[in-house]
């Protein structure tokens, strides 16, 4: 909200400078984000009068002006055409720097001396563009600095009002805050205007049917007015505060909205059927055209203003086209009311309509100030327009008490804030706020809160007032005393994830963070490839764009887009990981979200080295990374099961990672069709771990004695049909005998020498006993068992060298 300093000082004659007002308000919780001097750059510009004008001898489009600032005369070359002899104009003398940065010097223009410049509104920073130079009012005083002459020797404060402080959405409200800070007094302008003998009650009638939604409705009637522009002073203030001047009647309602925070509405009384106002809910659904020309769908519970025949306004939100003030309007009914905040907000939200009026009503407009606001409007209007005001007014709810009392204990302030507040300090703050205090016994007070402070209903609200107006800087800094909390399961989770992340980083993976929402369009297009029916995904009802409509069911697409982007930026050895949630619908809980660690590998195995440069990553690189992450998370025992159940992975090159019969992750080559759909050439490998499923409860490792007897190694090469899963072979070999301490694959070979459809696998087996040195017979027996297993169980043929 914009507040002019000059306007503010009409309500509180403060000793604070504009900058001091900015700081004081900000430190009291009413943030002033900027404080701008409006006359900036006009220091060397004065009012001058044109004494003589003649054409430039050598330039058709230029004229030579002789002007005076009352003391001296100046010769100025000017390119504009909109002025005439006798006009008051803005003269920038040599040496001036204009707001746009233009420096004015003495110059010769086409051979003629120019001792300054006649400025346009644009050059003075007063308008985006201007057709010619600025012509000032005829009575402007020559030689006067321009800023005060045009009312720009003023400061414009931009105030950010939090939703609880609807009372500050006006010059008066901000003035009250200044007064509460400084202890100065707010003065309301006197109102006075002449009243006609004809009573308003004989011209119009007002009833309020729904009193709960409209506790107070004040109105005044004007029986004669001529619609005309407002005086320049009013127009300027409105324009500087961001409101477009329209005519005297509309402008005065806007002026009062800015000044007192009271939204007002002017009805054309002659167009109000039956000259009657009723405030009541719509009752039935209907269509109603507001004054912006839009047909609005009105719901039954929305509050409307009615005349004798139908609705004429959406209460507190926007007037109707049918009764708006027109150039020929003569008679006016001024509405100045208080509507219930929640009702206005609900209506505005459902209509998708937020106005200066609804914005204030939903934050609370002072119900005790409606009549004063109406009178202030007429008082101001009568100062510049010929109006005939009917005698008396309408004021439904005017006799009610809108103030409330709130209990308060100074001891409570101390308890919450951690600083002592003396009774005197509390009374002082509350008095500056204009809250009368009744001190009860035992430190229990009763504080009367004026109607405009909608945010103060409870003791804690008063504690806040005491704390903020005494200054947060007076609160000491202490350190909270408390028992140390337990190490929570989430502490452990964070530590495990951090460990896995650091492992990935040292393995060359960079961390990506992608949005949790993905493009529903893309998911629908590639539904069969992405392996997730988009109808099983959680959807954002009001997405910010087409690319953010669906909560990702897995982390693959984000990382693949990162790969694609990376290649496009000429980085094509890529290792990325992401820690984030996947979402979806589930039968049991309706929907789920689950923490995952996902990674993608693309390009060379050892980028940045010159040996083995051509080797690209393969399935086993990705599998190894997955195994290492799982080992870190304590995921053992887990095993890899060939599976074609993830359509986004290549069927022959992917695996489910299974623990206790449940998939805790998957790893494999990204499906080629998906890669080509995303325009990624070559192969990419992907792994995704379900973190909670993989985590095991931490168990202390139980030490086993280091074997003291020497191991024996046996190498066995064996040819198998291609389909034999070597992982299963290894697992069974390890189970054969407790003396088999390790079995590993050290060579894999295929080719013509072995024969098509076959593979040669070389195993190295470490045989070792805990309590003795093995004999040749022991070793031979174990070796035979292994050979039998390989041949009989897996159809292998032992190779002899």
């Amino acid at each position: 909200m914009k507040v002019l300093y000059s306007w503010l000082t009409e309500f509180v004659d403060t000793r604070l400078s504009p900058r001091e007002v900015q700081d004081a308000l900000t430190m009291a919780g009413v943030e002033v984000s900027s404080c701008r001097y409006l006359g900036e750059g006009m220091d060397d510009v004065v009012v001058a009068r044109i004494l003589e004008m003649r054409p430039h001898p050598d330039a058709e489009k230029l004229s030579l002006c002789r002007v005076t600032d009352g003391k001296s005369e100046y010769r100025v070359v000017c390119g504009a055409k909109n002025m005439k002899t006798g006009d008051a104009v803005a003269l920038a003398r040599a040496g001036a720097t204009l707001p746009a940065g233009m420096q004015i010097g003495k110059a010769k223009i086409r051979g003629q001396v120019s001792e300054g410049m006649l400025c346009s509104e644009q050059e003075l920073g007063l308008a985006e563009e201007s057709p010619g130079i600025m012509i000032l009012p005829g009575d402007s005083q020559e030689g006067m600095p321009l800023a005060p002459a045009i009312g720009m020797a003023d400061w414009l404060l931009t105030v950010e009002i939090t939703p609880n402080r609807g009372d500050c959405l006006s010059v008066l409200g901000v003035a009250r805050e200044v007064a509460a800070i400084t202890g100065e007094t707010v003065v309301l302008p006197e109102v006075s205007f002449a009243e006609d003998t004809l009573p308003a009650a004989e011209v119009a009638s007002v009833v309020v049917t729904d009193r709960d939604l409209c506790p107070r409705y004040s109105a005044r009637v004007i029986t004669d007015v001529t619609i005309a522009p407002s005086p320049p002073g009013i127009q300027r203030r409105l324009a500087l505060c961001g409101v477009r001047p329209i005519n005297n009647i509309v402008d005065i309602t806007n002026y009062l909205l800015l000044e007192l925070g009271q939204p007002m509405h002017a009805f054309d009384l002659d167009r109000l059927a039956g000259n009657r106002i009723d405030v009541r809910k719509s009752g039935t659904p209907r269509t109603f055209t507001t004054l912006d020309g839009t047909a609005r769908e009105i719901l039954p519970e929305m509050l409307l203003i009615w005349d004798a025949e139908g609705p004429v306004a959406v209460a507190g939100v926007m007037g109707g086209q049918n009764t708006e003030v027109l150039p020929e309007t003569r008679r006016i009914l001024f509405e100045s009311a208080h509507f219930a905040p929640a009702s206005i907000r609900s209506t505005g939200r459902r209509l998708g309509l937020s106005t200066e009026s609804s914005y204030r009503f939903e934050r609370g407009v002072d119900p005790s100030g409606t009549m004063y606001a109406a009178d202030r409007a007429l008082s101001l209007l009568s100062g510049f327009a010929d109006i005939c005001v009917s005698a008396g007014s309408f004021d439904i709810g005017g006799d009610r008490e809108y103030r409330r009392t709130v209990p308060f204990r100074p001891a409570r302030a101390e308890r919450v804030i951690g600083r002592t507040y003396s009774d005197r300090e509390c009374t002082d703050v509350l008095t500056r706020l204009g809250f009368p205090v009744k001190e009860g016994g035992k430190g229990a007070w009763e504080v009367t809160v004026p109607a405009h402070r909608f945010d103060i209903e409870r003791e804690i609200d008063l504690v806040e007032e005491i704390a903020r107006l005494s200054g947060y800087d007076t609160i000491p800094t202490t350190y909270p005393e408390s028992e140390a909390p337990d190490f929570s399961p989430d502490d452990r989770l964070a530590a495990e994830v951090e460990r896995a992340s650091e492992f990935l980083r040292t393995e060359g993976f960079s961390q990506a963070i992608n949005f949790s929402f993905v493009s529903g369009k893309e998911w629908e297009k590639h539904a069969s490839l992405l392996g997730f029916d988009p109808s099983d995904a959680m959807r954002v009802a009001n997405p910010i764009s087409e690319d953010t409509t669906l909560m990702r069911p897995h982390l693959l697409t984000g990382l693949l887009h990162n790969v694609e982007g990376s290649i496009r930026r000429f980085v094509d050895d890529i290792r990325l990981f992401e820690v984030g949630k996947a979402f979806g619908k589930s039968l049991a809980e309706g929907h789920f979200e689950e923490l995952r660690i996902a990674f993608v590998m693309y390009g060379r195995r050892m980028p940045g080295t010159w040996s083995g440069a051509g080797e690209t990553v393969d399935f086993y690189d990705a599998k190894g990374v997955a195994e290492a992450i799982l080992a870190l998370l304590g995921g053992k025992p887990f095993h890899f099961v060939p599976a074609a159940s993830r359509p986004f992975l290549e069927p022959g090159k992917s695996s489910e990672i299974v623990k206790d019969g449940e998939a805790i992750g998957w790893v494999g080559a990204v499906c080629r069709d998906l890669l080509s759909a995303l325009e990624i050439a070559g192969a990419a490998y992907y792994g995704e771990i379900r973190v909670h499923k993989a985590l095991s409860a931490p168990v202390a490792v139980q030490y086993r004695a280091i074997p003291r007897f020497p191991p024996v190694f046996r190498d066995i090469a064996c040819v198998f049909p291609m389909s034999v899963p070597v992982g299963d072979v290894l697992a069974m070999v390890r189970e054969l005998s407790p003396e088999i301490r390790e079995a590993e694959v050290f060579d894999v070979f295929t080719g013509a020498k072995i024969g098509a459809g076959r593979k040669s696998i070389a195993f190295r087996i470490r045989i070792q006993a805990e309590q003795r040195t093995l004999t040749d017979a022991d070793v031979h027996s174990i070796h035979t068992k292994v050979v039998n297993l390989l041949e009989n169980r897996f159809g292998g043929t032992i190779r002899t060298s």
């Binding site: 919780g29 943030e31 984000s33 900027s34 939703p163 609880n164 929640a342 308890r415 919450v416 804030i417 951690g418 600083r419 409870r458 804690i460 609200d461 504690v463 806040e464 903020r468 947060y472 609160i475 000491p476 800094t477 202490t478 350190y479 909270p480 005393e481 408390s482 140390a484 909390p485 337990d486 929570s488 989430d490 502490d491 951090e498 980083r505 060359g508 993976f509 960079s510 961390q511 990506a512 963070i513 992608n514 949005f515 949790s516 929402f517 959680m538 959807r539 009802a541 910010i544 764009s545 930026r569 980085v571 984030g580 949630k581 979402f583 929907h591 050892m606 940045g608 080295t609 010159w610």
Partner: protein, 344 residues
């Protein structure tokens, strides 16, 4: 018996000869074996020593030892010559280019948001807070109602909310990490001291707003927790996060779930307070919001506000990371451009 010293001299000469003609280490060892090793000619010769007359023994023995010492010295010299020759030869043949780049393990990079978040969390863990997480798809009740943000209240406008398409319409993408306050307080009795990090969502997108971003929330409730404690804790946090000597200010503000509420500003990291583009000429940077937990919130979790008081605070991780790293466009965090990530 021939002149024994002459015999020694003869053996010594043969030995020297063998050493000087040796071309390899094994030739040399061979020569040593033959002439002056444990079973070499000189040793063999000395076996005959006891047979000599007493007066000769001393003289011959000394001559033999001298000869052996000389041979030993020659042997070492020659050995060094042969090895040196070998090294020179190898250098010529086996020389590699040591200026070629080494095989550096190629480390990746942690995302700057993750780094900043980890650091914030670590500080609060050291200050006695424990982590608690919560769902990102959240019930309206936890995200708003129980945080004293009723429907049809203008405070709902403070956060542009993403709604989830869901029967009943009460699921939202959490707009802040504050719902974790409610979930934690429902599950625990005071004293509680919790730090709650995570992704949050708001319907807003420009250079300083992202529809998804990250927050760290913290809160503590006990019998005598005060706003002075909150000031003390956050002062300590800012010292650890931003370094010594960074002036702080606590400025009154409004959040529906705390009262009194405050914004915390630090002296601009860019201009130190003289005013610049980063701080919009104010000299201050807003870094977090905080306040005393509103009694209305206790009503939702069954704490007695007369018995317990507590505070809560929350900060945007992206904002802090942007200030620390001099990043002016928040969207960079979510593009995952390798040229961006590799800088951290």
């Amino acid at each position: 018996m021939p002149d024994t010293t002459e015999q020694i001299a003869l053996l010594a000469e043969k030995g020297q000869q063998a050493i000087s003609v040796a071309r390899t280490e094994s030739d040399l060892l061979d020569a040593k074996g033959r002439y002056f090793g444990k079973k070499g000619a000189i040793s063999e010769f000395l076996k005959g020593l006891p047979a000599l007359p007493m007066e000769d023994r001393k003289r011959v023995g000394a001559a033999a030892n001298e000869a052996r010492a000389n041979l030993e010295a020659s042997f070492r010299r020659r050995l060094e010559e042969i090895r040196e020759k070998g090294r020179v030869a190898r250098e010529g043949i086996e020389r590699i280019d040591v200026t070629l780049p080494g095989r550096v393990p190629s480390f990746g990079h942690r995302h700057p948001i993750s780094q900043t978040m980890t650091e914030i969390i670590a500080i609060f863990q050291r200050l006695g807070f424990s982590i608690r997480g919560g769902p990102e798809i959240e019930k309206d009740y936890y995200n708003f109602e129980a945080l004293n943000i009723p429907k049809d209240h203008p405070a709902r406008d403070m956060q542009d909310t993403f709604y989830i398409d869901w029967p009943g319409g009460d699921l939202v993408l959490r707009t802040h990490t504050s719902p974790i306050q409610i979930r934690a307080m429902e599950a625990m009795r005071p004293p509680v001291r919790v730090i709650a990090p995570g992704a949050v969502y708001r319907c807003d997108s420009d250079v300083t707003h992202s529809p998804m971003f990250h927050q760290v929330e913290g809160f503590a409730v006990d019998r005598s927790t005060t706003m002075a404690d909150l000031k003390g804790l956050l002062t300590e946090f800012c010292r650890m996060m931003f370094g010594e000597g960074k002036t702080l200010r606590f400025r009154p503000s409004f959040f529906p779930f705390t009262e009194p509420s405050a914004e915390v500003d630090i002296r601009c990291v860019n201009c130190s307070g003289s005013g610049c583009r980063v701080c919009k000429d104010s000299g201050w940077l807003e870094i977090l919001g905080c306040g005393m937990i509103d009694p209305a919130v206790y009503g939702f979790v069954g704490y007695d506000p007369e018995e317990y008081t507590g505070f809560a605070f929350g900060m945007g991780v992206e904002r802090i990371a942007m200030l620390r790293h001099g990043i002016s466009d928040i969207r960079l965090f979510f593009e995952n451009d390798p040229r961006f990530l590799s800088q951290f």
